[in-house]
Symmetry: C3
Subunit: 632 residues, 3 copies
């Protein structure tokens, strides 16, 4: 289906039927072809236990269908109604400190509580039975942004079951968790608990396993609902991934269980930072999808939430963000939400139809974008072209979120973002890949701070270099195995031809100078050369004159090591990446190439487009302008 | 009674009878004529359940009476004794996180617990029975600084009752709370709880109603005690209002239930900031009193608590603060407390008699002030002269304390303080008024960030302008109705002759330039002119050239709009308010005018006083000096 | 026994027997002669309730003995095994907020729970029975870093018993706690609770007594274990003291109950700050020991934990820190831990054998230090020479940690560190002494901010001056008695010949100028001269021209008063202490003097050593170098 989806979350239960008709008319005007319905409808669909009210939803779906708009129908399980709390107090979530939460917001339930799991499957079944043949139905949307956590005793039970499955014996668990330290040895499965508030530092392996468990447990909850839907229908099933500082699920693993990878993407910086974050998130989603279709399921129309403030998106920025996602593989551009709420906690969240109504800059931009996307439908099945990969491993991130590292400034996400930025600012598209996948198609592979690494992944990277790859390894990589046990001299010592004997974490916000004139941040190391050559050295400080950046030829390839977090200019010089104001993404299908061009600079740019044809946009590129050209 | 009260909280249970006699003698020396007794005496009066010890209080009241000192007798209900916790564990307050507090400080009780309410009325009855005819009794002081909150299940019950009363039906409540969003629809009253810790953002209307409820619930507790006292006595009844970052009660509403509005006032800035805060608090109290008498019940003698530090009041500052209150209508100047405590949590709280004893600068200043106040008794019944009003609405403040706004920098209290400062620094006295009251006596009415506004209030302001008023409306005003539902284009759009299509919150601590050379902070808006004229424009940024300040003639009046938080100089220029070092307040009674003059500058000021007579102070005004002159 | 101990915590249960053999060999290579074994071994020794596994420990102790290495055998009671939590949920600790902690870290138990106390004595008995005659046994090490606290109901019971013992009657307790304020009077012992989370400020005397109680309660727990060990053995018993921001035990009092005072010392500053902290901690330990032997039981080998970052110790710094401790009286230098852990929460904690293994800078420095210490054995029984004492009183510190002071900038520890620094930077060694001990041997005694002082201590200091001592009293001293009751004009007014009528806390991070050109921080006071002479005055501000530093001749001595926290230069000038880059400590025994010299400067220093003999190190002192010389 060569089509790009356009639309957003539609929560019609907030308005009466008169507004619904205006909604459909405006959707048609804006070019909307898909809306997500029902995400927060549980209390409207089942206002009292066992009493269902489907009439309003029947009417809404019929109206949408009559308007030619498809529906991504959600199970409303992320927000049980208030009565659920009263009937199942044991299913309310408990924090690590032991606080049991109360409803009054959204997402207030324990995913391990049998009562919750049963109720979730029950309401999913009701929806599937009733709507599986509805002609508007294009997609099932299970739940919303799986993520909330819990530390209650029911969670403890499930955690222990998961651990039994993973380790088989307590002997193996004790070894993996290094429980010989601090007298934590377990002799009875019953003694294991989630990492609740304790006296001092939590066992980091227990913490990591709890993160792994929680992702798997939520996945099980998702799969239960998917199985219910599958009993009735072969319509594609998805759930929307959300990404932020605390990411409780392993999206790369979950991707195998969805028919379409869907992401919600809310950058948190204004200006150029938002553009960079947009590219990062879209590339990451494409990496998770690993060839499957993926879709930008939610973004904000009119603003970026910066800290605790909605920064309005300047004219054109909403379109650029949407096109950047499409350029990088998204099968469309959807928003939360269609119409701004009249009240409630997110009444000021931007929407496609703002409070100011259709006679507004925002709705005009929405309508304009809605006219552009259909002309890009031809790219839908093409592939994004990239010959560089950055490794991404969520377990490494989780591991580095434990409180045991030599410096609190170590930040896996920041290191990965930094690597991505080095390419993005040169207008070069990169893929994200898992450490243990086939990397042979890439000219260059970058490995930012891969603290935790398995033997298989380490071997995979070695083979990649031996076969001719260029591998750029970042500081602190290869330090521990998947049990969080130190592996001196580290998984990559031989490959890199160096030994690191001492870590020298830099002062928070401190810097170290490099002989080349560059600067390092966050971290430095006492690197001893075994067989590598030195590319750059520390200048000044206790490491003065010692190697900072090294290069090691191995087989047909080369392995580089960066023992500090280098500044953008130094990285650009090392990697041969001159800065460019134009973000460029290439898509290819057969012998056709589409080039997406987004001008983030302040000046007009004349992009040579000889032999190519303009699909959308305009050339030369005005500041903030975009164009897509087709060539063969 | 043309008299000004002078004195403070007197907690004699901290000392033995020998000290009491010295206290009375020093009070007489200092001119004290009123002391508040018994605020924290519960455990001294009823050391064990049902065993009363009134002997010491009998003696103290007799001594005071013999010394010619009147008594403001407090019910001690703000601090139940330790035994109360043991007998009524269910009456200990619970935080939003579910932590049940323990005694060991003060104010540790749940105001919704029947056991507490009964006990409070019981001890009030004991006091009323025993002392209602005591000749020293001049006033009843119910409780102390009503304010602490609770989220326990008993509170939940009372909250539900209050909601039933307010809304009548769940249908109406669901609409008012916009529960259709996030699946919060209620089908059973039992399901409603206080806004306890929940997974994510609290429903802002639920939060606002809890604030409204809590104020009403505390008022009910106050009224119960008042009714008990009224059974025995017609002596005036009051309770002391306290004002700060979290204000749990609606003072304007409570004012109807007290015979004298009493405030505790503790500025938190040193230097000129404290002077400004003093004027603000006194004007606010006068506004709450709305013509009734009001009284400064507590202030600190020797210091201002700045952050976590007692900054000593410089020579003269204590007198200026006291006189500024009196100038603005207070029927006196009282302090917490008479004698500095020997121990306990507030042992370093300033007092009229400091630890250094009567041979101290502080006591000398106290004595001097005590000799000045009687000469000002003639102003006691006169009115403060003001032709400018600033609107104040505590529900708007509560609404803006919820976590749903487009910017965390939005701060109702700061906006109101800012408006007040613009006048104060020009030496101009203003009143505070409620949005729905008769404003016709005012030349100018200022409306700072009145986010929440009812239809009646909006109509009232429109009528005010049509009848010739000058209305100055601040940014973000009129955005929602009392149910916290968005009202586009806002309650004031027609009156102001503008449309606001987009909010542009400024970066925290950021600024935007104005064409006039001024600066805006906190907030900006994309203002579209409908029929207003443009007074100032944004200069630079995404709103460059767009209207920032507008003016609209409506009927016989004019409505101004300030779409950003303008700096003091710009506001002064707009409002015709040149800065002045002398704070000037006029009081009038019949054809007599009293002018209070406080010199906050560093230079002597020769104030023309032709045809007027010096009542107290000296002229010309020395730096830090004051004078009150009488003229006809 | 003229020997210096060298070694560290050895936790062999983390490795298999193959590593143990390598450990012993490396220990011998490094000169190790004492290791602490068993600190965290409970779950390895008693993996299930009542099932013991001593085989591995037998083997380890035998191996150590065969290697000539002595053992400091620990009872593992700081970390009960996970099964303990399941069997005794009531013995899990509860925070002041009511959160009951879960195991998963270390130290998770309530020291007041009978089940814990019984279990602790039980496992101690098992160890004593089995190993009391083991030839490797040189010392018993009870528990580890006594300190964690609890607010549960079992703690409440013990607290009440302690209070009954201290006060005898509720009348006396009510007076000591000033419960007449805020209605806190107790009429029933059952009503007293630990200072749990309450509505507002905690009673400061209740808080202080809880701190006193907790120290005594932990001491009782220690003594119970010691008594068990004494049943079997006369080997010296110790426990390792730990010192930081929250110090729950009174080390000076505990010192009477240990055979060797042992401290763990972890500075938290890099660079010269760590050197200064080292000297401070070592002098404090010597003061606690009061003539008894003392020992540096733990320090980190390779790094200083600065905030949340391990800053590597530069070459030589580890040796200088160790020698500074030895210079100041330590009977050796031990580390946590021997070998870096493979996993767990402290896997990146520095160790004598780092992850890089023996072929590393760190192990080479460890080995070098191990060769130096035996040559210093001759100093082991000598005395440190000091003619200046600084007073230290942990109860004063605890008192100042309550939330009732006139300024949050008041910081007892900072004031004491400041006084110590004034001497340290001039290379002058000081003792720490308790306020009520014989001070006649000191030329000068410094009294930093001794807020709380008993009558006996005040009399002791007065006698010290009358008999010819030089007493330097810091601001805020003598303000309250041991019940935290204000004692105007303060305990030292007469001795100092001044009256302080008003406190003038400075703005946080603010300063006040002195007429001499110096600066004061934190605090200032309105000082009135009674009979003292003025040495320096405030310059500018509200205290302009008033006395800042005074001097008062009393009897044969002189009492100085510093009413503000003076800068280092001013203090150096006043006390006649020119700054020096060389830290110098003298030890004496009979007519032999050893001088320890540590060069903290950047330049070589030629120290005159006429008539003396170099014991270790080299002369002249290179930057960062050290030497110990012997003379007669």
């Amino acid at each position: 289906m060569r089509r790009l989806w356009y639309g957003g979350d539609y929560n019609p239960e907030q308005w009466d039927a008169g507004v619904w008709k205006e909604d459909i008319a405006l959707m048609r005007q804006a070019g909307v072809n898909l809306v997500t319905v029902g995400v927060f409808s549980w209390s409207s669909l089942e206002p009292e236990p066992g009493r269902y009210e489907f009439g309003w939803l029947d009417e809404v779906l019929d109206l949408l269908h009559d308007g030619g708009i498809s529906v991504d129908l959600a199970t409303p399980t992320a927000s049980p109604p208030p009565w659920f709390s009263r009937l199942h107090p044991e299913a309310m979530p408990v924090t690590a400190e032991g606080v049991r939460l109360t409803h009054g917001s959204r997402d207030t339930y324990c995913a391990c509580a049998p009562a919750y799991r049963d109720a979730a499957q029950g309401i999913a079944r009701q929806l599937a039975e009733r709507y599986h043949e509805h002609p508007a139905l294009a997609m099932w949307h299970v739940h919303n942004e799986y993520g909330t956590t819990c530390y209650c005793s029911l969670t403890g039970e499930r955690f222990r079951e998961w651990l039994r499955e993973r380790y088989g014996s307590l002997e193996r668990l004790n070894e993996a968790w290094t429980t010989a330290f601090w007298s934590q040895g377990y002799a009875d499965w019953r003694d294991i608990e989630p990492p609740r508030k304790t006296q001092y530092l939590v066992n980091p392996a227990q913490y990591l396993d709890f993160r792994r468990f929680w992702s798997d447990e939520l996945l099980a909850a998702y799969r239960e609902q998917k199985a219910v839907l599958r009993e009735f229908s072969d319509v594609p099933v998805t759930t929307n991934f959300v990404f932020g500082g605390w990411v409780p699920v392993n999206h790369a693993k979950w991707a195998a269980e969805v028919d379409v990878v869907a992401i919600d993407h809310y950058p948190d910086q204004a200006g150029i930072g938002a553009e960079e974050q947009t590219a990062f998130g879209a590339d990451l989603a494409r990496g998770w999808a690993g060839g499957k279709p993926w879709l930008l399921m939610e973004q904000a129309a009119g603003g970026v939430n910066v800290g605790s403030r909605w920064h309005p998106k300047e004219p054109g920025r909403m379109a650029r963000h949407s096109l950047s996602h499409v350029a990088r593989g998204s099968r469309g551009a959807l928003f939360f939400q269609w119409r701004a709420s009249r009240g409630g906690a997110e009444m000021f969240h931007p929407a496609m139809v703002p409070h100011a109504g259709p006679d507004s800059r925002m709705f005009r931009e929405i309508t304009e974008l809605g006219s552009v996307l259909p002309r890009l439908a031809e790219v839908a099945e093409s592939n994004v072209v990239a010959d560089v990969a950055i490794l991404w491993d969520v377990e490494c991130w989780w591991a580095m979120q434990g409180t045991h590292l030599p410096s609190s400034a170590l930040d896996y996400l920041a290191a990965v973002r930094s690597a991505h930025r080095h390419f993005w600012r040169a207008g070069v598209t990169v893929d994200f890949a898992a450490p243990d996948t086939d990397l042979s198609s890439y000219r260059t592979v970058v490995v930012p701070s891969l603290y935790l690494v398995s033997d298989q992944a380490a071997a995979n990277l070695t083979a990649y270099v031996e076969n001719g790859g260029q591998l750029v390894v970042g500081y602190f990589s290869g330090t521990v195995d998947p049990d969080l046990r130190v592996r001196y001299p580290g998984a990559f010592a031989e490959l890199l031809g160096v030994r690191v004997d001492e870590f020298h974490p830099l002062p928070i916000d401190g810097e170290v100078a490099l002989a080349s004139g560059g600067r390092g941040r966050v971290w430095s190391e006492d690197v001893r050369i075994v067989s590598a050559e030195v590319i750059d050295r520390y200048a000044g400080g206790v490491l003065d004159g010692k190697p900072a950046i090294t290069r090691h030829e191995v087989g047909a390839g080369v392995a580089w090591y960066l023992s500090t977090d280098v500044d953008d200019e130094t990285a650009g010089r090392l990697l041969g990446l001159p800065a460019s104001p134009v973000e460029t993404v290439r898509r290819r299908s057969g012998d056709t190439t589409w080039t997406f061009l987004l001008n983030h600079g302040d000046a007009e740019v004349a992009v040579p487009s000889e032999g190519s044809e303009l699909v959308v946009g305009e050339l030369p590129l005005r500041p903030g302008g975009y164009a897509v050209v087709r060539s063969r």
